[in-house]
Subunit: 252 residues, 2 copies
DNA sequence: TCTCATTTGTCCGTATGTATA
DNA sequence: ATATACATACGGACAAATGAG
């Protein structure tokens, strides 16, 4: 880790722009350039440090990429943070990636037809009860046929025509069919997880009597404008299911 | 009012490097430069497009930042993706940010002492049963004192001295005390959520008899080397609790 | 409202170092 | 070892946005 500076008067090995970046980074961290204040101009840095503008700009660009400064033409370089913000980030390719088993399961659709929203369903859809959404009902199973849990999806009226494109057994998530057919990408997903006794209607699916405890997943898929594209409701038998999340810490 | 001088139809407004970036982006998307193949060299692009090397480099840098190409000194510019990968990303400042209520709750510690790991606890800790970890027991409550749920945390032996720094009621998460005192940052968090009847011992906390249904959160905090720093176990009463996740779609 | 100096953005030219094949 | 190709670093010039007068 320590740069193996030769003890002699030899040059440090790190590139010049990188040393300047470090210099400024430390100065900012120490508060010599307070948040909200301005860094010296490119011209000033060139003169002070006796380097070319190109080199200074490379250093400043990196500070900007790190989220420490903001640059505005005509105004200058403003310090916006003393240290890079450290946040926890979870990343998944697609939403089914949230589940360990996703790759090995299929969704069997029992029905898909337009039907008016109940009072209860209307709320997560952000729509009025009675609106006619495409209601898809089915269940998720492992490839060898063992039931995982019941699935209901409600597709907004403007995308209801996707019904024609839905096969009886899906391997890709429903939202991807909507995206493909209408060219409207999902921009955001809001997921709610709760737990409790399953609706009695679902108990037979697992060969249980009474109301087994389950985990309930409600996912709302939104477009770039924040409009609900579809909502899905999934139940999983609690005793067979764990939801795993992996968050990595990074900068910015 | 002031008429712009010759805003002629042939006058492209975007910066040159950006137009070149777009040019290359489209060529890659169309497969003219296949994934795994090489882009023309900087020198070739300079000549073909009649622009300076600096401009070409700016365009290529952006393709690299977008994750479309990889550049290696001496080798060239390799195409690594036809289109930018679209992924879902969840970001939180700190782990307690995963919970809506986090800002408004406090953790009351009842005890914190070294004790040998049980068989059951040893597994999530990635340690041997019998190892002496710092066992913290308490409960989380809202600011006005209503109980949310019981909390147990197990701190790895090398950080056990943090006990001296833990106040009776914590507003910051436990891991932040470890980070501060030992200067070892948490690099990753793995969280498991499951549901089921709570251990009978916890029922009285909620004034319930029997075993109420709860959601269980097990979080393992790892350092950069992947070593477990601490593990926490939290229970929440299912009927009062929903876990909400917001994932935004972005590039790279 | 307008001018004007300041500051960053864009673009060009050139030279040398260094990893790669 | 040589040629190639990207990385680093210097130089200059003009454009465009900003903010103060």
């Amino acid at each position: 880790m320590a740069p193996r500076d030769t003890p002699g008067p030899g040059k440090p090995k790190a590139p010049l722009y990188q040393r300047i970046e470090t210099l400024l980074r430390e100065a900012i961290a120490e508060g010599r350039y307070p948040v909200g204040g301005l860094l010296p101009t490119e011209a000033e840095l060139c003169e002070t440090l006796r380097v070319s503008r190109h080199t200074v700009r490379e250093a400043l660009r990196r500070l900007k990429d790190a989220g420490l400064v903001e640059r505005r033409q005509g105004a200058g370089t403003v310090v916006i943070a003393r240290t890079p913000e450290r946040v926890f980030v979870q990343t998944v390719r697609d939403i089914s990636g949230l589940f360990q088993f996703a790759a090995d399961t299929v969704l069997h659709l029992r029905s898909a037809q337009l039907s008016p929203l109940s009072e209860e369903d209307a709320e997560p859809c952000g729509a009025a009860a009675g609106e006619r959404w495409l209601r898809c009902e089915g269940e998720r199973r492992t490839r060898d046929g063992r039931p995982i849990g019941p699935v209901t999806a409600l597709v907004a009226p403007r995308f209801a025509a996707v019904a024609a494109a839905l096969p009886e057994t899906l391997t890709a998530p429903i939202y991807s069919y909507v995206e493909k057919r209408f060219g409207v990408p999902v921009a955001e997903v809001v997921q709610e997880i709760s737990a409790g006794p399953m609706p009695a209607a679902f108990a037979p699916l697992f060969g249980k009597k009474g109301r087994p405890v389950g985990m309930r997943f409600v996912r709302r898929y939104l477009d770039a404008a924040g409009e609900v594209m579809l909502v899905s409701f999934n139940w999983h038998l609690a005793e067979r299911f764990t939801y795993l999340t992996r968050l990595k810490r990074g900068e910015a």
